[in-house]
Symmetry: C2
Subunit: 193 residues, 2 copies
Amino acid sequence: MAGTGSGSGAPRKQRADSRRNEEALLEAAAAAFVTSGVDAPVRDIAARAGVGVGTIYRHFPTRADLIVAVYRHQVEACAEAGPALLAESATPHAALASWIDLFVDFLVTKHGLAEAMRSDDAAFQTLHTYFLDRLVPVCAQLLDAAATAGEIIPDMDALVLMHGIGNLCIGADSPSYDARLMVGLVIAGLRLR
Amino acid sequence: MAGTGSGSGAPRKQRADSRRNEEALLEAAAAAFVTSGVDAPVRDIAARAGVGVGTIYRHFPTRADLIVAVYRHQVEACAEAGPALLAESATPHAALASWIDLFVDFLVTKHGLAEAMRSDDAAFQTLHTYFLDRLVPVCAQLLDAAATAGEIIPDMDALVLMHGIGNLCIGADSPSYDARLMVGLVIAGLRLR
DNA sequence: ACCTATACGGAACACGGTTCCGGTTTCAAG
DNA sequence: CTTGAAACCGGAACCGTGTTCCGTATAGGT
């Protein structure tokens, strides 16, 4: 029974070609996202990976699933940086500022990601859920530490803050705009005077 | 030769039916924008106005032209409120806060307008140009007055600020978000401490 | 009443996402 | 090695949008 794997419920393992295609797709998507943003046409991604469009939908039912798969590592890294920064920074407020900087860095280097983040399209629900579930608690922890230290206003909602910062990063590559400056203003506005 | 008006350049006046259609379109578009946002399908707007899609494109080559035509009055009113607020408010900072509140009010009540504002699509160039040409100088004047009074940081770029505030208003109707709170944070961040 | 510049309507086209199904491939059992 | 079927693949077909184009209708001057 506890043999090579064909237990009671599992009918069969994932086929090798399936796994190959999935990885080819991830690589192709990552490349396409860099050149055309996260809105890269499905057909383009499929062509790059050398598969049919059907294969994309089979592995990643919605675009959000694909985006999450591509950026999972980076989101994970960002989430883990939160507690670390809190431990090594001079003050909780400094840690908060550094962490948000990290988050902004992540967003502005992915064309169209910030836009996708705020879409209320049902297909992007997955993206919302993943990003927020993973990052909001970290942000909340930082906010709480800073509030307890009396550095910032109390009761700031982490979800609202992250949502807003995401919005501010939209169109960050425009020469006539400066997302970091605006985010800086928000951080400053958080401070108790 | 110098008869009823057919001068040297103008071949003929705009036909009456053309003008009627243009007004029907404006009305239909305004209604459609309320129910479906500024992204309302072209065919829907045409159907509401009882005209063909060709007629829309003839009168308003790009969607931005239509949007501008529909909201011109309100933008005008907002622009004119700037100097008025500056004159009647207790301090320049108060005037700035009130004016931005007005602007935010305008944006959040038009589904999708904030999104459209930040689109870098060439078709929305007209919208950018009009809104910014009209409102940025007003904002700049308010910022300048407040800076001169020593209430806020100097050299804040009005264009960047408006761009950022526009971004913050995206998705303002989501129950889990609060655009006004975020804008308030920005205004607070502007203050000298 | 006639004539033509002007304007109209909607069919046709372009494009991107999404679905679906006939053919192919993998894998394990014999 | 052979074989059978479940798993998987590819891309044609479909749908909803924006956009263009041209034959037809009409306003308004003469």
